[in-house]
């Protein structure tokens, strides 16, 4: 450190220009190291605390790979692994094209009611995942309103899982793809049009390659989301076992942490693959929005707009109808035998001792997580993407940031228990408080926020940084005065995404909440377990409406306030 100070002072005396470079490098180093430390603390160490158990027997002795051998020789493994991969692949293949054209309709066409369609696509994210399970049972279950549509096939099993997972993963893909399609250089299209290129050819040579990075990210996000989710297979999977329910069965059914850790490690594989593919793609990605770019403004075109509008209405309508049924179910007295409507399901104190209290705790959690998390994630993504110093550390941080996506909440939650509750850990102070819930939730949803930030940052030409450097403006000024304003829509997207997920998350926090910090999402699970299905749907509806209000506020802000900051896009 003292040598650094000396070097700075030497530099000061010689060249003013050099001083700036040295100072900037140090600040960057300190920030990147701080980022790495934070990520190690909130992601790597807790994960290690649980995953290291995979090498131990249940009474804590080191047994090497014995647990992996046991697991590999269990007959159910191969079928669970195969089931998980099948379900995740099918869901990805269904969701990505739908999400792409949906996002395309929102960004590259002139269809009406874009805001409403955007909001409709995000509804599944607004609702606790249990609600989609309940909704599908109301609609397609053995007593469902549209049971005949299933043509005798049972909802419980692979069909139900794929439908529910597609609903659940759709908004995540749309969120990434909307960002990917948001920025595009209109000059390319002008040139193509001037050269008489056909629309089909323009789509394949300009639109798709431009969105390539977003498409691949979205693909991996959907795949890993589906493979790690255990809530939907648990509720609607019937007899169909997947890796995530195996982990649940080991940990919650049999308290076998070593085996749970083994499954957790298997589940990490897709994320590690995603990381390396991401690196490979990234190397070939060129910035779309150069400093000289002219933003593309879609022109009305009857045929295209009509087709896209039909698609958007079909998808958005289906989503709204399914969740609408669940909302209706929350007012029903005793489904399906007594369909009279009542408000008493919303008197939560009848089935939940703390009544509405968990709802307020959830709001607090969501607010704190969104503000702190967004600041951390966006700054982190900027440091990783835009600075040229310390490539190894940045690569490490990037790797950690991509990890949480692949970790089932169950694994992350238990890791937090093992790490933060260890008797030697001074941070144990926070255990059972709202703080640890906030930290855990940020870690849990880090990756999608990170990808959104990266997608948005990648589209800004590095020239901005180069110009700043030649004008001797340090990177933090560029960050504050150029990057943040340009990326403000993405930043708000991240904040809303985290806010909403903090409202609905269950799997990790169920091991961490304390007596005074019970969350609404957990109360929903408890009410459902206790057979109070309508009240569970009721609380889920309240959560969903809250999330939707936040989203509407976001849209309003986007239009009224950001409209001014973003006017350069539409000059």
């Amino acid at each position: 450190m003292s040598t650094a100070v000396q070097r700075v002072s030497v530099a000061t005396s010689s060249f003013a220009e050099k001083r700036l470079v040295v100072g900037e490098r140090h600040v960057a180093g300190a920030l990147i190291i701080a980022l790495c430390l934070v990520l190690v603390l909130i992601i790597a160490l807790p994960l290690w605390a649980l995953l290291s158990k995979s090498l131990e027997s249940s009474d804590g002795h080191f047994v090497g790979l014995a647990n992996f051998v046991t697991y590999a020789t269990t007959p159910t493994l191969v079928s669970s692994l195969f089931n998980s991969l099948t379900i995740a692949s099918i869901t990805t293949v269904i969701v990505i094209p739908l999400a792409f054209f949906y996002a395309y309709a929102l960004r590259r066409s002139c269809i009406p009611w874009k805001g409403a369609f955007y909001a409709a696509a995000l509804v599944p994210v607004f609702a606790p995942s249990l609600l989609s399970g309940l909704a599908l049972i109301y609609v397609f279950g053995n007593q469902g309103l549209l049971k005949s549509w299933m043509m005798g096939a049972p909802l419980y099993g692979p069909i139900g899982i794929v439908v529910a997972e597609s609903l659940y993963a759709f908004p995540h893909a749309v969120l990434i793809l909307v960002t990917a399609l948001a920025l595009s250089d209109g000059r390319l299209r002008e040139a193509a049009e001037a050269l008489g290129t056909t629309r089909r050819r323009m789509f394949w040579t300009i639109t798709l390659p431009g969105a390539r990075y977003g498409l691949i990210s979205a693909g991996f996000v959907v795949f890993t989301l589906v493979i790690t989710d255990f809530g939907i297979p648990k509720v609607i999977g019937g007899q169909f076992s997947v890796l995530a329910t195996d982990a649940y069965r080991q940990v919650v059914g049999q308290q076998n942490f070593p085996m749970g850790a083994v499954v957790g490690i298997i589940l990490l594989v897709p994320a590690v693959v995603a990381y390396f593919v991401d690196r490979a793609v990234q190397r070939r990605q060129t910035a779309l929005l150069s400093a000289r770019a002219v933003p593309y403004v879609p022109q009305p075109e009857r045929k295209r707009d009509l087709a896209l509008l039909t698609l958007a209405m079909a998808i958005g309508g289906t989503i709204i109808a399914i969740y609408g049924t669940a909302v209706w179910g929350s007012f029903v007295r005793y489904w399906p035998y007594n369909l009279s409507l009542t408000l008493k399901n919303y008197d939560f104190s009848a089935v939940e001792p703390s009544g509405w209290e968990p709802y307020w705790t959830s709001l607090q959690l969501a607010f704190l997580t969104a503000t702190i998390g967004t600041a951390l994630i966006f700054t982190g993504a900027y440091l990783i993407e835009k600075l040229k110093f310390f490539p190894v550390l940045r690569g490490f941080a990037q790797f950690l940031a991509m990890l949480p996506m692949a970790v089932p909440g169950l694994v992350l939650g238990l890791g937090y228990v093992f790490f933060f509750n260890a008797s030697w850990n001074p941070l144990g102070l926070f255990y059972g408080t709202l703080t640890i819930l906030v930290v855990n939730t940020i870690a849990h949803f880090y990756t999608v926020g990170h990808i959104t930030a990266l997608t948005s940052l990648k589209q800004i030409d590095r020239e901005f940084e180069t110009v700043s450097a030649s004008l001797q403006v340090p990177f933090w000024s560029t960050f504050r005065r150029v990057t943040v304003p340009i990326c403000l829509p993405a930043i708000l997207d991240i904040a809303v995404y985290i806010f909403v997920n903090a409202l609905t998350t269950v799997s990790a926090v169920i091991f961490l909440y304390g007596a005074d910090t019970k969350l609404a999402s957990i109360a929903i699970v408890h009410m459902d377990e206790a057979g109070a299905v309508a009240s569970a749907a009721g609380m889920a509806t309240v959560i969903m409406l809250t999330a939707i209000s936040v989203k509407l506020l976001h849209l309003f802000l986007d239009r009224m306030v950001l409209g001014r900051l973003q006017r350069w896009r539409y000059r």
Binding site: T76, G141, Q239, Y248, V252, Y334, P353, F511, H526
Partner: protein, 339 residues
């Protein structure tokens, strides 16, 4: 400026004062799997009996709370556990996580509800049974079963759900119940037949009955009290204790080793064996630890106490891995393609 400062100080005192008055009470954290609606009355009754204690619940399903307690074992956060399956407490006892304490008056309880081994750590509260919930509205002519064998009726194919024994304690107590009461050979043979009719093994001890109550399934094998409460809410179900007898488990309580509130916890443990406490247990379960308390909750199946098989909890604990492995070999490898 000064008056602003003074008012702030007074404001702060005003805010803090009530908290200080409250601080006379010591918070006792109890991990529990009791039902949500039991928590309020239990807290009230405990705080009346032990006025210096303030009960703080951390409640979740048996599996989650057991996993959480074991995960926290390096640095336990709970002072007591209450209303948790005795099989979980046996696990905690084995791991040396429970304080040795014999509550005053425990000798008056039925013998089966007392920890049989020294050192004495846990005390049973009430028993819960694995029963049959049968939806009469969806039965379509199938008679209400009275024997386990009735569930082998081919008309019920794909209409029965039960808890997965590796995910749910209730599922395991049923499997263990059949193996103990019918003998291993007959027990497995029965399950082979039952498997033909099973639609799914679910990951919760309550869900099968909730599904039966909602007509999603015709038969749900589940916890007794869930059946009774669904029926009370208006579900067209019969809750049945088959005549061969049913497997059961008990809810129990214990003090956590290393608690900072040992004296208070002991008082609460003493409360747990009183008749007043047993009356509370009997609001939900028909069979409780005290021989003097008799109450059958509304819609609770008849003949429950007589239907309890001779159950050996330590047999259940010792044979769990073996039974689950055999179960998984028989029903999971070939179950996968069956949906």
């Amino acid at each position: 400026m000064k008056s602003w400062f003074t008012s702030c100080v007074f404001g702060a005192i005003a805010l803090v004062a009530p908290t200080m008055a409250m601080a006379q009470k010591t918070k006792v954290t109890i991990y529990t799997a009791l039902e949500n609606d039991q928590l309020g009355p239990f807290k009230q009754s405990i705080e009346k009996a032990v006025p210096e204690a303030e009960v703080v619940w951390v409640r979740d399903s048996t599996g989650v709370i057991t996993a959480r307690f074991l995960a926290e074992k390096d640095n336990p956060r709970a002072d007591m556990v209450m209303g948790l399956a005795a099989s979980s407490l046996l696990m905690f006892e084995k791991a040396g996580l429970l304080e040795t304490y014999k509550p005053a008056g425990v000798d008056k309880l039925k013998e089966v509800f007392r920890d049989p081994k020294e050192p004495y750590t846990w005390t049973g509260m009430d028993a819960y049974l694995g029963v049959v919930c049968f939806n009469t509205a969806e039965a379509k002519g199938v008679a209400v079963p009275s024997s386990w064998k009735d569930l082998l009726n081919p008309a019920l194919q794909g209409k029965i759900v039960m808890p997965h024994p590796a995910s749910s304690g209730t599922g395991y107590l049923m499997v263990a119940g059949w193996l103990q009461s019918m003998g291993e050979t007959e027990g497995w043979k029965f399950m082979d037949g039952l498997h033909q009719n099973i639609a799914a093994y679910l990951h919760s001890g309550s869900a099968p009955c909730v599904q039966a109550a909602r007509g999603e399934r015709v038969v749900g094998l589940a916890l007794d009290m869930r059946g009774a409460s669904e029926k009370a809410k208006g579900a067209p179900i019969e809750v049945i204790v088959p005549k061969e007898g049913v497997g059961w488990e008990m809810e129990a309580s214990a003090i956590v080793k290393g608690t900072k509130n040992l004296a208070l916890s002991k008082k609460i443990a003493d409360w747990g064996v009183t008749e007043e406490a047993n009356k509370l247990y009997s609001q939900t379960y028909a069979i409780v630890a005290s021989p003097n308390v008799k109450n059958t909750p509304p819609n609770y199946p008849a003949g429950a106490e007589a239907g309890m098989i001779k159950n050996d909890l330590s047999w259940m604990a010792d044979n769990r891995d073996r039974v689950l492995a055999e179960w998984s070999k028989r029903y999971e490898s070939k179950a996968a393609p069956k949906n």
